[in-house]
Symmetry: C2
Subunit: 392 residues, 2 copies
């Protein structure tokens, strides 16, 4: 299989784009990525796009063909993939496979979701379709409730506190304040986070990622062709995916995501890296407890110590100097926003910027050579991990 590199990236600002539609968002991201890769457009020979729920959210399926049309890319094949909140990373993985296999050379990968065309209750129900519709959603368990169960159990088993949860939100808002693409570019205090309204006990408003519109895009090429397009190609050195039970009630543990553990072990083996080698990571913080579990399951901290590490600033931009690792420099799902299908692609965009040394606003990590992205579908039934290193 061929080595694969990212040669261009682009994204819209994440946020509530009341005045814009699905098509418009994805075109902005796609065109930015094409320009970033110095392509004419006609070099593209295939595409993949991650979208979770466009059928329910905007009445539009057949997203691959729609984008081929509106990006002016007909007749090249563009295929939509869906894996709930991991849809974007699954699109990246299919694009990776298409290039690695030799089936295609230059491939565009997009992620997009337009979520604000409906009311929040409708959106919450639609997102519930990422879990077990028959055993969870139908009985009223939407996502804040499911992650609240995990948080409670993590607190019970490991002494994780509400302050620790809140510290994740404060850190991600601080990072988001430095990112001009973030939905929330304001810092918050511990006090604000701790005093916010309860959504699903113990999760309060700032423990939850928002509803967001947005799109992100990436251009992939074989590594040996990458320097024709980019001065700073970023090699994707691992792409791994694993599955777990769709419903929480079938899991052996509520305090870890087994699919994350399996996917990251595969990814480390593919890349020949260990957790200590990673300089910067974007992880799936749909809720603050999700970031805490992720940084444990990915091997950055021991199981049960993720909350304490967060509170101690070990996951901040300065985390490395404290024996930790910077997590979610973009602001994460929490502050950068979570347009579901776009999130996995945005994570890869942020890592590419970090490894190129182009993360703006004071959030650049010094000497970032190796990065990791971790994207979860639903309550952990899908996990996707990619590892990246400088290809220049």
């Amino acid at each position: 299989m061929r080595k694969v590199a990212i040669i261009g990236v682009g994204m819209t600002r994440f946020g509530e784009h009341w005045e814009r539609g699905f098509r418009n968002l994805v075109i902005e991201a796609g065109v930015k990525a094409v320009e970033d890769a110095h392509l004419q457009g006609n070099e593209l020979s295939a595409g993949y796009v991650g979208t979770m729920a466009s059928g329910s959210l905007i009445g539009q399926e057949h997203i691959g063909a729609l984008l081929a049309d509106y990006m002016g890319l007909n007749p090249i094949p563009i295929t939509r993939v869906e894996g709930a909140c991991a849809s974007g990373s699954l699109a990246l993985r299919q694009g990776f496979m298409a290039v690695a296999s030799g089936m295609h050379d230059i491939v565009v990968v997009g992620g997009v979701e337009k979520m604000t065309d409906l009311g929040t209750e409708d959106v919450s129900d639609i997102l519930g379709g990422a879990g077990d519709q028959e055993w969870e959603l139908f009985l009223g368990a939407t996502f804040p409730g499911l992650y609240a169960l995990m948080a409670r159990r993590h607190m019970h088993e490991y002494g994780t506190t509400e302050e620790m949860l809140a510290s994740v939100a404060v850190k991600n808002h601080r990072n988001g304040s430095k990112n001009k693409y973030a939905q929330f570019q304001n810092e918050i205090t511990m006090e604000t986070a701790m005093n916010a309204k309860v959504v699903a006990d113990p999760l309060k408003m700032f423990d939850c990622s928002p509803i967001t519109d947005g799109a992100a895009a990436i251009i992939l090429a074989p590594l040996d062709m990458a320097s024709n397009y980019s001065k700073k190609p970023i090699e994707i050195v691992a792409s791994a995916q694993a599955s777990d039970t769709i419903a929480l009630h079938s899991r052996e543990s509520l305090t870890k995501l087994k699919a994350t553990e399996i996917a990251v072990q595969k990814a480390y083996a593919q890349a020949g890296f260990a957790p200590k080698d990673i300089d910067v990571a974007e992880v799936h913080d749909c809720f603050t407890i999700a970031e805490i579990m992720a940084i444990e399951d990915l091997g950055f901290f021991k199981k049960g110590e993720g909350g304490k590490a967060s509170l101690e600033g070990k996951t901040s931009l300065e985390g490395k100097s404290k024996g930790g690792i910077p997590i979610n420099t973009s602001g994460g799902l929490k502050a950068c926003g979570h347009p579901v299908g776009a999130t996995g692609v945005k994570q890869a965009v942020e890592i590419a910027w970090q490894l190129r040394g182009e993360a703006e606003g004071g959030r650049q990590i010094k000497d970032a050579n190796i990065g990791l992205s971790h994207n979860v579908g639903g309550s952990g039934a899908t996990a996707v991990v990619h590892i990246y290193k400088k290809g220049y």
Copy 2:
């Protein structure tokens, strides 16, 4: 890239499965395919599933993880792909790529749709999301209307008649009557078809494919491992996909599907075959006019002569003796049924049975060595073509 073969197939009966759910249907198809390939199940290392609109139809997204769970396949990665009515073929194409690339050896490909949990008007609206939601569906143009426009233009340009359209339905019902998996296993007369109620002039009831529940599955392996599992592996010698505009109003012609033309030309080039080499084909007859356009666009008949060829029986089971080719031996979407995401996979199942000499009920084509499947998304914005030959 490695050569890829089908080593196992399975499907549910297509129909209105009031008493069964989505999960149940896909398990039946998957287990049958696993048994047909003489697998234990633990040899599977990845999967792809095609589903168009499970979010809107049954409130469930994240179908890949759901199936990994309910098929007992955790933690292997299963990924859902969506391309409207071509979702099944897109899943097959991703599976093909996964095996061809060397990334996976034994891969399961599924297609499934559960459509009868909602009323037909709701379903019609949901299916409209396969076209252009903003420019077509929102203004009331559902699929019978879109294909009626194509039919009228084909009649105007080429003298195609309502009798010619009806002859497609009569032939496909005759084939369906020989297929125990078909939704409609009854023959119809020309009189019945011609006197049926008008749905969207000139399309009458029997010109339209039905709303269907069902699932189909296929097991893929590298050709050089295939004989370990199957005495009659079927090699996939071409897999091609192309895109066209999502809305009809942007097309240069209403009487052909350009994406079909482009995809099949690529497929013939990959396989080294021409239309005359194909012994049997499953084509996308969501409406009778769609079959007539397909057999022209695929190169089996000259443009404008598909209707006449159908009326003359050149696409019947005995078509080859009349200078034609047997089309839709399964009964096609029209009579076998059209559970949207399952259709592309079912087409491959039928071709595998034909090339193995195992098509039952009197529909086996003699000396069928090379087969083709053609699956369309929406009104032609996606077209996918696969070509198959005996691998034994």
